[in-house]
């Protein structure tokens, strides 16, 4: 027995090899080489670019991926890998990485004020703490250099010329060469041209020349290499202790692990930096007032909205599919095309158009269809929900109609015939034969449609913006807000972005949708076994 298995597998392998070689031919091999050559050329170019910009991690990834791809496609076997590789790569780049990154952000404090790393936060704090001494003049500057390093040749507005460097405070010089009213050169120093200055921008922007021996007088800095101003700093950074000190009040701000320099009484200096905060965002999602208060209502409405949307579109789509599937119906093709139209328009555009049509005193519905009635379609909490469901029905039924038509047509006629011969009435045929068969194909679509509507941000945002809001409530959540639009409002109100909180919420929503979907899929399986 085992011998035979081995033999067969050997033989089949052999056969596969022969088939491979026979089918390939010289043209195939050439094509293969050309295509892989293109891939490799792009990869090599990518490697150059990446190496030049010091992106070693990504560069090594590109190199490894390229090698693996070459190995797979030049190998004579690895047939499954040849089919799987492209899909797996796409999966990694566009799915796993994105989901993983979102998950990671959910555990950080990434938000307005916590946008970068600590070193950059210190840079930014120091540069915004620098204050120009009030009423101090503009000094004309020539950047000069000697063996000790860079310095400034400074001409004060009153014509006095002095020179200094970061170690030596300004001191007067007499014998400077003048160009108009600006000193451009002095003995003992080489003057830098504008081009030279551009080559050393980093050094020059960082160059600080003390104004006098007293550090409280501040120091000269030049932002553009030709004029300098006297600055003092309101913050002092102590690199050893890692603390910031407010020069005027003496308050010490230290890194207390909250992602920002914090004083002893809890005051934070912003910008701070990004840190991981564990489950803080998840805790906030359930404890913050502006979220907790409306959470239950919004969750209920989200589920109701998603369920009703799926149910209404499914039944309308199915009904129309059955009607248009009847052979006695004339001009079915024409009707079917007309039926698809709402599906062909971009959904967010349709939602905007509907928002205009449902406007209370200017909308087409009230003005023309209802002869000037003033029904608050979008501004009454209940009617707004009805409008949302109606518009979603309009948007969604063509899809269900399409799928149901396909599913109906795939039901063999003989099954129906057999039932009829057995004496089943049309309703019985539909209920007992067609419906169960339909559900087998349509159940996964209903589930995915539920998941889609659960996060149908476009529709809500474009049609009502989540409104109408209850002016009496103190939270920024409206009657038609679903979870995802509420998250958007909470995490991105005005200029305060909270990516961490938003990511945490997406994880929570994912868990909700996944649970509901898994339970439904179990049910579907039971359905399949039934048949």
């Amino acid at each position: 027995m085992t011998d035979r298995v081995v033999q067969t597998s050997k033989r089949s392998k052999q056969a596969a090899r022969i088939a491979d070689a026979a089918s390939g031919g010289i043209r195939m091999i050439l094509l293969k080489i050309v295509l892989l050559g293109i891939v490799d050329a792009i990869a090599v170019y990518a490697l150059f670019v990446l190496a030049l910009s010091d992106e070693w991690l990504i560069a090594s990834l590109v190199a490894v991926v390229t090698l693996v791809v070459n190995w797979i496609y030049f190998s004579k076997r690895k047939l499954p890998a040849k089919y799987l590789t492209p899909g797996v790569l796409f999966l990694i780049v566009f799915q796993i990485f994105v989901i993983g990154y979102t998950g990671y952000i959910g555990f950080t404090n990434y938000s307005t004020g916590h946008n970068s790393d600590k070193a950059q936060a210190i840079d930014a704090l120091m540069s915004s703490a620098r204050e120009r001494v009030p009423d101090s003049p503009t000094y004309k500057v020539t950047i000069v250099e000697n063996l000790e390093g860079l310095g400034m040749l400074v001409t004060a507005p009153d014509g006095e010329v002095s020179v200094g460097s970061s170690e030596h405070p300004l001191s007067s010089v007499r014998n400077a060469t003048m160009d108009g009213d600006k000193a451009v050169a002095v003995d003992g120093y080489t003057s830098l041209s504008f081009q030279d200055v551009l080559q050393r921008q980093g050094d020059i922007v960082g160059l600080e020349v003390p104004f006098s021996d007293d550090p409280n007088d501040g120091s000269l800095r030049t932002p553009d290499g030709s004029s300098a101003y006297v600055y003092t700093s309101s913050l002092v950074y102590d690199e050893q202790a890692g603390t910031m000190t407010d020069a005027s009040s003496g308050t010490v701000y230290s890194d207390t692990g909250t992602g920002a320099f914090t004083s002893s009484d809890g005051e934070e200096l912003l910008p701070g930096w990004r840190i991981t905060v564990g489950f803080d965002n998840f805790a906030r999602a359930f404890t913050e007032d502006s979220i907790r208060e409306p959470l239950i209502n919004v969750t209920i409405w989200t589920i109701v909205f998603a369920l009703l949307s799926v149910a209404s579109t499914f039944f309308l789509g199915l009904f129309l599919a059955i009607v248009f599937n009847d052979k006695r119906m004339k001009g079915r093709k024409f009707y079917r095309i007309a039926m698809i139209l709402p599906y062909a328009f971009p959904a967010f555009l349709s939602a905007l158009v509907w928002a205009g049509m449902l406007s209370e005193s200017f909308g087409f519905v009230n003005q023309v269809l209802l002869g000037g009635a003033s029904i608050p379609w979008l501004t009454d909490p209940f009617l707004a929900k009805v409008s949302i469901l109606f518009v979603n029905l309009w948007l969604g039924f063509p899809y269900m109609f399409l799928v149901a038509t396909g599913a109906l047509q795939s039901i063999p006629d003989d099954v129906v015939e057999a039932a009829t011969v057995d004496g089943a009435k049309p309703w019985q045929v539909f209920r007992l034969i067609k419906m169960p068969l339909l559900l087998v194909t349509m159940a996964p679509i209903l589930i995915s449609s539920f998941a889609f509507n659960f996060n149908n941000f476009n529709l809500i945002y474009m049609l009502t913006g989540g409104g109408p809001r209850d002016a009496a409530a103190s939270v920024n959540v409206g009657a038609t807000d679903i979870l995802i639009s509420m998250v958007y409002k909470v995490a991105f109100t005005g200029q305060l972005r909270d990516y961490g909180l938003a990511s945490a919420f997406t994880i929570i929503i994912f868990i909700l949708v996944a649970t509901i979907s898994i339970v439904s899929f179990r049910q579907t399986k039971a359905l399949e076994e039934l048949n």
């Binding site: 670019v49 791809v69 970068s116 950059q120 503009t138 200055v197 979008l378 200029q495």
Partner: protein, 408 residues
């Protein structure tokens, strides 16, 4: 074996995509340019798509003058701010980006912009432009254009300018059309109603020479209550209607069905194209004080992580702040230049001049992130009042809610 060919092609396409995507992730780096390694310095400037052409000549002229190349990158206006916020910390953002002054709070709080020093040129700019480009007493933006709303009048319907709000309604009614439209929505539009609010002496925050004091909320003062009462009366009379969205207001005015339209320069083109005889008037005041609309100021920001700060500062302060360049930018966008001398020249045009006259009273829109707390309650309260809620109680609740959100 067709399938196999296909799979190879797919693999090729895939590897190409992955490769390009990965390169794309990093290729911006080259633009930043490490001054020490390159013989010529290049500045990368993000520009919103509409302004690229205007800046092309400016960039070329700057290169002729200094040898510094300015690489313009056209960006989608809606994405510039977020991209800038995300890319600067990675060190791969641009040296300079175009933007609007109300981003300042967010940009500064995130530490992605560097202060710039205008020094003696401060006075060369329109006062509101200079004020708008500072945040907490420090200047971060080089302004190039100022926008504010003003009252458009259909001069064929109402030939003479009017003084007060009630006169405006009377004049419009006498002309036999809808007297006045202003962009609103289900949640009102506090931006467009702000001049009316300030005419009752109720700004959002108090302000001094350092800008707004966001810890001193003024919205709920006595003037605010007075304004709320006035707003309730307008809602009852139907002169300000939350049903009038921007599109409806535009349609009413451009088809001659409305006599006055409170809107910004961005809508003037549409009215002129529709053949309306447009006059730009000062905003009528329902209250005792000046009507102060919000000014929106456009400008350029310097990245905190730029490696070319000397060149960038030179480009901003010594070049973009000159009359020729500001005029060139004006000609492409027809928005009032921020530099006073260029603004004077541009004001010869009656439309631009009209907006400038109104802009004399304009105040910069507060750039603080704290404004988010204000916006989320402001419009909903105004909409409620317009639609018949008790004005004083609603307004007091607004002030309390905003204060609560600010204290959080």
């Amino acid at each position: 074996m067709k399938v196999k060919t296909r799979s190879i092609i797919t693999a090729g396409a895939l590897a190409a995509t992955v490769g390009l995507a990965l390169v794309g992730c990093s290729s911006d780096n080259g633009d930043g340019g490490d001054g020490a390694n390159n013989s010529t310095t290049a500045l990368t400037v993000w520009v919103d798509a509409e302004r690229v052409d205007a800046l092309k000549d400016v960039a070329a002229a700057y290169k002729d003058k200094t040898g510094i190349e300015v690489k313009l990158v056209s960006k989608d206006t809606a994405k510039i701010k977020d991209d800038f916020l995300q890319q600067v910390p990675t060190g791969k953002g641009p040296d300079i980006t175009m933007g609007a002054h109300d981003w300042l709070g967010e940009l500064v709080t995130n530490g992605v912009v560097s202060p710039i020093e205008l020094a003696d040129k401060e006075g060369d700019f329109l006062e509101v432009a200079y004020a708008a480009s500072t945040y907490e007493g420090k200047q971060y933006m080089l302004p190039y254009a100022v926008e504010n709303i003003a009252l458009l009048r259909n001069a064929d319907l109402v030939p003479e300018a009017v003084g007060t709000f009630d006169e405006m309604i009377a004049a419009g009614t006498a002309a036999g059309v809808t007297p006045f439209v202003v962009q609103q929505g289900p949640e009102s539009d506090p931006y467009h109603l702000y001049p009316f609010q300030t005419s009752f002496g109720a700004p959002v925050f108090s302000s001094d020479e350092n800008g707004y004091d966001v810890s001193d909320l003024q919205i709920g003062n006595a003037g605010g209550i007075e304004y709320a009462n006035w707003l309730a009366a307008q809602g009852a009379a139907g002169t300000i209607n939350t049903e009038v969205t921007g599109d409806i207001a535009k349609e009413q005015f451009t088809t001659g069905q409305a006599a006055f339209w409170l809107t910004g320069p961005w809508n003037v083109g549409a009215a002129l194209d529709a053949g309306i005889n447009v006059a730009v008037d000062p905003i009528v005041t329902p209250g005792a004080e000046a009507a102060q609309p919000f000014a929106g100021v456009k400008g350029f920001f310097l990245s905190e992580q730029s490696k070319n700060k000397v060149a960038a500062n030179d480009f901003l302060v010594n070049y973009l702040a000159t009359e020729d360049v500001q005029t060139a930018l004006f000609e492409s966008g027809n928005v009032l230049p921020a530099l006073a001398s260029a603004a004077d020249a541009a004001s010869n045009d009656p439309i631009v001049g009209g907006f400038r006259l109104v802009g004399m009273d304009a105040v910069p829109m507060p750039a603080s992130p704290a404004m988010g707390a204000v916006w989320q309650f402001w419009g909903i309260a105004e909409a409620a009042i317009l639609n018949g809620a008790d004005p004083a109680a609603t307004w007091e609740k607004l002030a309390a809610d905003v204060q609560g959100a600010l204290d959080k």
